[in-house]
Structures are given as structure tokens and as C-alpha cells.
Symmetry: C2
Subunit: 228 residues, 2 copies
Amino acid sequence: MRISDLSRQSGIPVATIRFYLREKLLPPGTMTARNQAEYDERHLRRIRFVRALTNMAALDLTSVRELVSMVDDHAIPLPEVFRNLNRLLYPHGSPAPRSESIAEAQNEIDGFIHRMDWRNREESAGPEALAQVVATLRSLGCDDDLGFLENFAEAASRLAVAEMELLPASTDDVDRGAMIARAVMFKVAFQVLHRMAHEHHASLRFPEPATPAPPTSPAQTARPPRMR
Amino acid sequence: MRISDLSRQSGIPVATIRFYLREKLLPPGTMTARNQAEYDERHLRRIRFVRALTNMAALDLTSVRELVSMVDDHAIPLPEVFRNLNRLLYPHGSPAPRSESIAEAQNEIDGFIHRMDWRNREESAGPEALAQVVATLRSLGCDDDLGFLENFAEAASRLAVAEMELLPASTDDVDRGAMIARAVMFKVAFQVLHRMAHEHHASLRFPEPATPAPPTSPAQTARPPRMR
């Protein structure tokens, strides 16, 4: 198909597609004449992939380019793909300077991770980031015990296991594009669900007096009403 | 205490504290002389709060200012605080143009939310965002059924309930600063745990051959070794 067909089928303007080509987010088409390239289904899927990463997961172009290269380069072992993916999806904040309160929290976190029996690599910044969270919470007057962490860790484990179970048994059968797309979209889905669950449980916890219905706009009436 | 004491106790440079004052992220101190202001514990805690939001949760200054104003303004009802908080913490991507595949996903999502019995407000953008995620996943070759959503929703519910249970029974007793700090830090903690769980389960799913230990740098040897 031509670039105009690619645009029509993907719903993405030709100018954006040309930008993706220039930025090497999209491989070049097959030249069939001077100034005339032919594209195929793989280009269409790649456009959707790039679009999903930039629009829905709000990733920057450098991250998207790295993810795209991991789809194409089958020499990168899958565990490394996952590590890179996680680095891009869940960046850690800058580490805080060591302090007594952080050192104390670090001991508790090390015990917690030992109990979880999680095998994270030596260089993982996760434990430090958790110690920083705990020390920060305490400095802000939240003297909760660390029970919430076990609760959260179990929920996180369940999500990760569910995601791994969708992958085929053999490494060679793994569709890397689908695997990466799933990890990214699952993160987005969980964020949306977390927000909805938070709103739902906050409204149960702090019920609001019934308010008169807000004025309906055409955009709102266009969708069927949802249960309240 | 003086601004220099505030700096020493918080570990934040005086220039940054002055910046917070100018940006109204920190209330002014009490003037005790020309060019001499006195600060107290509340300033110290506020600095830590702002620092946690910008550094660890990577929020921009506009969001931080809005969160700070919600700590101070007790006229804002708690459910509204939660809604604003969620809007800042979990922004939705821009909605996609309506398409047949999104409309189809929307029907499934509406059924799913009905089964969850979540009471989200009519104007919540959550359901649309979920439909977009599902349509995107399908367009990228992930024809998973929607079972993963129920799994995710239950995990999200558990997190939200755990957070609400840490709040006192009476609305008047709620420490808004601690409540907001907790919501923000819990989000950070969950992200870190999600990343660690993901790495752990990926390494179980795709075991790597043992590699020789990487060369140790002074920074790495400074911490005691953790279990692998």
C-alpha cells in the first residue's frame, strides 16, 4: 500500500508517518519508483505500536525508539528486554542522600524482600527506592507499619504472574511486539483501574450528599448513562 | 528557627527554600526584623512534603501547588480532594477518535464495570480509557480475553481499601497532609514493587544462564550484599 493508504488505515496523518520514518521509528518502505514507496501490514502495526506508546503510555521518543529496537533485535535475550522495559516504564526517582532514617528503613526493607523471596538483581534500585518511600512517609507524619507493603507486593506479584502466563511456553514463539505492547498497556490499564478503585472506595468512605445532576453537554448525552 | 536552620534540618539548600517561598509552595515565615524571618516545624514538614512530591513522585510545580492548597484549605470536601489527587496522580491519555473497535470494547468494559459494581461518577474518563486500552491491545495482536481486567481490578481495589483503612473514622480527624502524602507515596511504592515483581517473575519465567559477577565499583561495595 502507499503512504496515503497507510494514513487512511491507521488514522494517522501522512505528515506524522513521514516524521516516524525520519525518526527511524518506522522502517522504510520498499521503493517501487523514484519517490514512491510501498508499505505493508507490518508498517501498519508498527504505526499503531508507536502511537500507543506515545499517546497512551506517554513515553518520550527516545524510549519509544529503544522499545522499537527491542522488538526488531532478536539477539537481545528476553530477560534483558524485560529489564529495559521496566527501566523505561517505571523509572526510579533520584536516590536521596543517605541518612539515619533511610538506613533504618533500608534494614526493614531488606528483611521484607528476604521474606518475599524475590530474586532481584544485585544492581536493582528497587530496595533503595522503597527505603526512601518509607523514610519519607515517616518524615511526613505517616507512622504506618509496613504491612501495606506486603499487601502491595502480593498485588504486584499477581499482576506480573498474570502477564507472564499469557506468554507461550517456548522463548522462540514469543511475539516480542505483542509482549512489549502488553506490558505497556497493562501498566496503563492498571493505572486507570487504580484511579477508578480509589474514587469508588473514597466515595464509599466519605459519602457525598446527593447533588443535583450537572448540566448535560451534547458530548455527555451521546453516551448511554452508566450505573451510579 | 532561621532559614539556615531550616536548610540544615531539611537538607535542602537555602536557595531552593527561597524558591519555594517565591513560588508560594511554602508559606512565609514570621518577620522578626527587617530581612529576618522565623520558621517553625510546619515549614520543615512542608519542605519535606514538596520535596517528596517533586523528587519521588516527579510531579510538576503546578500539580504540587494544587496539592499544597488542598492540604491548607479545609473547606474542600475530602471526596473532592481525592478526585483532584487522582486527576493529578493518574492522568488519562488523550481520548482516541471513536471507532468501531473502540465502540465494541466500550460495550465489554461497561459490562465489566457493572459486574464490579464500582460507582464512579458519570463524568469519569476511566471507562473510555479502558476501552481504548482494550482496542489498542487487539490492534497490536494481543487477543487476550478480558480476564486480566478483573484480576487487575481486584488488586486495585485491595490497594484502595488498604489506604482508606488507614484514615481515622471521623472526617474532622483526617490529617490532610498525611492523607495526600500517603496516596502519593503509596503510588510510588506500588510502582517500585510492580517493577520488582515483574523482574522477579520474568527471571523465573526466562531463566538466564549464570553470568560472571560484574566488576564491582566502590558505590556497589558500599552496601552489604543482598540475597539473590
